[in-house]
């Protein structure tokens, strides 16, 4: 039976974080009940048999703004329309400051078995700079409450490369992060995206842009320190204790099939990528009328699919298996990309043996330069 990953997007936040370029709205939380209805409508419309759902992921936005019963309703709709595997990984993203122990207990009982907390930083000033709604105390409390509520698969998100952060401060913070004892960690470099508050601040000179050298240093330190603490890096931005890598996200990187539900959600299957409208109103109107919102479709040519396979596969520490590419695309990487591979190996960005291609530590920092070389000319 086909394996399927389900992604459910919850595009609501209390406020917009300064760096945020995700599909989300601020201050429209009153419309959440309508959205849950619409979402359940979509789940019904996109009912699917013959596929086994191995993972479910509530992403956002801020999914923890949903009440536990809303989460429960959504999951019930999923189970009514899809076959959900025994022991499926069911993750919900939560923001500190939006949750308490009781809420988390209810989630846990409702079937959520993995919690991903958007901590981002353990420094009050930095959290403020990022425009987060929580402080350090709420972050620490959230971790404790999650444990108390019985979550034994906890993931924490952090941001590195903040302008002006000293490497010493980052080392100290990493020690604190490790002390929190989460099973899974995601570290993302701060990027200043167009249209965000940070971009605005940078434009008027109120903020320095992140320094790529300092960012690279923080990354290298993190790799070293986390490895010493027993975290295994399995993807450019992700670390986990043995057995705790995110099965849901692995689906994206390995070219597996996934179905995205909700406003702005993305799906992939049968060589086609779909994107739902990012406009919340359009989404609500369509489903209010009982139809699916419009999907943008992109049919991947084999060549594009290959470059995506490289771009995604190389993000993983396990790298790209030469045999796997041969079975999927009928080509020999070492033949087709002979000069590129040679160049990248010489530059110290890529490790290559007969069976695998993998990024080196340096390569993980310069991933784009590597991926580019596998793109169509």
């Amino acid at each position: 039976m086909t394996e399927l990953a389900l992604y459910i997007h919850i595009p609501f936040c209390r406020c917009r974080c300064h760096y945020c370029s995700f599909v989300s709205t601020a201050g429209r939380m009153a419309e959440m009940p309508a959205y849950v209805c619409a979402l359940i409508g979509e789940i019904n419309l996109r009912r699917r048999t013959g596929a086994l759902v191995k993972t479910i992921y509530f992403g956002g936005g801020t999914p923890s703004l949903l009440s536990a019963s809303q989460v429960g309703e959504i999951l019930a709709a999923v189970r009514a329309n899809y076959a959900v595997a025994e022991g499926a990984e069911i993750t919900l993203e939560a923001n500190p400051g939006t949750i308490d122990k009781e809420y988390l207990q209810n989630l846990r009982q409702g079937g959520i078995n993995r919690l991903s907390l958007g901590v981002q930083s353990l420094d009050g000033g930095e959290l403020e700079f990022l425009g987060r709604q929580h402080g350090t105390a709420e972050a620490l409390a959230a971790v404790c409450q999650a444990r108390a509520a019985g979550f034994d698969n906890l993931s924490l998100d952090f941001i590195y490369g903040l302008p002006g952060r000293s490497i010493r401060k980052w080392r100290v913070m990493l020690r604190e992060i490790i002390a929190l004892g989460a099973e899974h960690l995601s570290l993302y470099a701060l990027t200043v995206e167009e249209g965000t508050m940070l971009a605005e601040l940078a434009r008027c000179g109120a903020m320095a842009l992140p320094d790529p050298d300092a960012t690279a240093r923080e990354y290298e330190v993190a790799c070293r320190v986390l490895a010493q603490a027993g975290y295994q890096q399995y993807e450019i931005s992700n670390w986990a204790r043995q057995g705790y890598s995110s099965r849901h996200n692995m689906t994206y990187w390995t070219g597996g099939e996934y179905l995205g539900l909700g406003c702005g959600a993305h799906s992939f299957g049968g060589g086609v990528r779909y994107a739902a409208t990012e406009n919340l109103d359009a989404y609500l109107v369509a489903l209010g009328a009982g139809c699916l919102s419009e999907l943008t479709e992109e049919v991947l040519t084999p060549r594009l699919a290959l470059s995506e396979a490289m771009m995604l596969g190389l993000r993983l520490n396990s790298g790209v298996a030469v045999d796997d590419i041969r079975t999927r695309f009928g080509i020999d990487l070492h033949e087709c990309f002979k000069t590129e591979i040679k160049e990248l190996v010489a530059l110290g960005l890529l490790e290559s043996d007969n069976r695998h291609l993998k990024l080196t530590l340096q390569g993980r920092l310069l991933g784009n330069e590597v991926f580019l070389r596998f793109m169509p000319p």
Binding site: Y188, T215, A275, G367, L372
Partner: protein, 606 residues
């Protein structure tokens, strides 16, 4: 028409002083076009010229003028190019005229290029009618500018007309003056044909269209003609004039101005300044003053993408059809690949060619630093010319090196003399003359000065003009003409990017400036070359000796963080964009250099 009723003249004016507006008024007032037919400024025909506010292609327009007493005249208004780069073209235009209307903006005063052209007109014995234009403006300083005209050109107030090309005020008086003051042509109708080519352009259907002034004899449709210098034979497929619409006629008589369609394939076959005569009955001597167009400034032009070379070649061929002064020869650079070493009349000409290649032909190009033609006598006695710095022999092989000098004349308000003198001195100029124009009347600082210098052409090729403008708050104007070759001692400074010499970046400079230029070059390159995947040393060297060095540190980070909610497409699109960007780069060895780097290096200030 009888020569006694023909007047041939041109308008000499600085950019924006009102030449086009005046021409429009003249056309309108002589009824050549009804007002509703007037498109704005009909004489500037090329789009590019219009944008830059300059006129390159001279054209002639025939005006039918009826004097107050009822006598009819045929006035030929010939357009002159206004920029120093085209001074030879200007001189040929002047040679086709008996008179010139000198237009001076009454709010500004005389500018260097105008003056240069007036002197040229005087050398050609043209009758000059000075006019102060824009007298309708409240800012017009009639007394001051009048005094300037008197002091510089010797025309008293009674000889100077006051007009407004915009309102038409004084323009009928000007027409009267043209007829009264400018002499009629005095050619010999019965003698063998002699006509002067003062301009030409290429037409896809009829071949080269030559603009000419008939000095002696007559041109008839169907005549077989010969160019006395070029030796080209051709047939008059069509003859005519512009009014300003094209009007074919059966013949162009003695003293008249018009065009001839020749069927020739490129304007180079029909060089400006050459004399046209009849094949059957040839004139004995050609008209004086012919000089083949000679480029003064040289630069390499390369496509950023090696496989665009063929397209660049075709584009060059097409441009050449219409631009006799452009020269080009294939050039191979180990790093830049295949391109052309091109010769231009001057920097403006170079800019125009570069812009046309990019705009009209959609090419992405890299231009190397402009240079001059050096004459080298080798120690063995052999004499060579060098237009590409990379071909400069080793210092030990050079016995004598000569470089072109130019006579530079700068006109500026007296207030800026200090900074300008400093600039010229720093550029190696020798002072010849300082000349105060007019007497300062009215506002303080109105006093203007003409400064004459001899300078190496090399030193005015990079930023001299920009600096002159900035040091005089835009008020100074510049003109230069070739003076001659003088002995010099210069060295070549090379630039190594990642240990590879980039011939396109080489410069020829005086030994004393080696350090400074070297440092400026590496500094600029460090700024404009993005970080690569490895550290890149940038060095400047003379002979084998490194005179400056800077390192570009390796790029450390370039990776997209998050695949948010499975949005892979967006990620891939970003990569595609990045890949597209790389295509616009020029590879120097393994180093990717944006083409802006080449451009900014041209503008580097030394």
């Amino acid at each position: 028409m009888d020569q006694k009723n023909i007047r041939n003249f041109c308008i000499i004016a600085h950019i924006d002083h009102g030449k086009s507006t005046l021409a429009d008024r003249l056309i309108e007032m002589t009824g050549a076009l009804r007002p509703e037919e007037m498109s704005e400024q009909v004489m500037d025909s090329m789009e590019l010229e219009r944008e830059r506010g300059i006129t390159i292609k001279a054209k002639a327009i025939r005006l039918n003028y009826r004097r107050a007493d009822g006598e009819g005249f045929l006035l030929n208004l010939i357009d002159t190019p206004g920029h120093v780069d085209f001074s030879y073209e200007v001189s040929r235009t002047l040679a086709a005229c008996e008179g010139a209307v000198l237009v001076v903006d009454a709010t500004q005063g005389i500018q260097a290029q105008t003056l240069a052209n007036v002197y040229l007109a005087m050398e050609h014995n043209l009758e000059i009618i000075p006019v102060l234009n824009k007298v309708d403006l409240p800012g017009a300083e009639i007394d001051r500018v009048m005094a300037e005209v008197k002091s510089v050109l010797g025309y008293g107030e009674e000889a100077v007309l006051k007009i407004s090309a915009k309102t038409g005020f004084g323009v009928s008086g000007l027409l009267e003056a043209v007829v009264a003051r400018i002499p009629e042509p005095k050619g010999a109708p019965e003698r063998p044909l002699r006509a002067l080519i003062f301009d030409s352009h290429y037409d896809r259907y009829r071949g080269v269209i030559a603009y000419l002034r008939v000095i002696d004899g007559t041109i008839r449709r169907g005549d077989r003609l010969r160019l006395m210098a070029a030796g080209t034979e051709m047939e008059v497929l069509e003859a005519g004039f512009f009014n300003p619409k094209e009007c074919p006629v059966d013949e162009l008589g003695t003293g008249e101005v018009g065009y001839v369609a020749t069927g020739l394939k490129q304007v180079g076959d029909c060089p400006v300044g050459d004399t046209v005569t009849a094949s059957a009955r040839s004139a004995e001597t050609a008209l004086p003053g012919y000089r083949p167009a000679k480029p003064m400034v040289f630069a390499g032009i390369y496509p950023t993408q090696a496989n665009d070379y063929q397209e660049l070649r075709e584009a060059m061929e097409k441009l050449k059809l219409n631009d006799a002064s452009l020269t080009y020869e294939p050039e191979n650079s180990p790093l830049m690949g295949h391109g052309f070493r091109c010769g231009f009349l001057g920097l403006l000409h170079m800019d125009i060619v570069y812009e046309r290649l990019e705009r009209e032909f959609g090419l992405s190009l890299v231009v190397t630093a402009p240079g001059v033609r050096y004459l080298i006598t080798k120690t063995g006695g052999e004499r060579i010319t060098v237009i590409n710095p990379s071909e400069l022999p080793e210092p030990s092989e050079i016995a004598i090196m000569e470089e072109p000098w130019v006579k530079v004349s700068i006109i500026s308000p007296a207030a800026f003399i200090g900074p300008i003198m400093e600039l010229v001195r720093a550029s190696g100029g020798n002072h010849r003359n300082t000349h105060f124009l007019g007497i300062a009347v009215g506002t303080e600082g109105a006093q203007r000065v003409q400064l004459d210098y001899d300078m190496p052409l090399r030193t005015i090729l990079t930023t001299f003009y920009d600096q002159l403008k900035s040091r005089s708050r835009g008020y100074a104007s510049l003109d230069y003409e070739f003076e001659g070759y003088r002995e010099t001692r210069l060295v070549k400074i090379d630039v190594l990017v990642n240990d590879e010499m980039v011939d396109a970046f080489s410069r020829i400079v005086p030994p004393a400036e080696v350090q400074e230029v070297g440092r400026a070059l590496v500094h600029k390159l460090k700024e404009v070359i993005p970080r690569q995947l490895f550290a890149v040393p940038i060095q400047a060297a003379v002979g084998g000796r490194i005179v400056a060095r800077m390192d570009i540190a390796a790029k450390r980070k370039d990776v997209l963080a998050k695949c948010y909610g499975g949005d892979i497409t967006r990620k891939r699109k970003l990569l595609e964009k990045q890949k597209e960007g790389k295509k616009k780069m020029k590879n120097i060895g393994r180093v990717e250099v944006p083409k802006e780097a080449f451009l900014s290096l041209l503008k580097t200030d030394f």
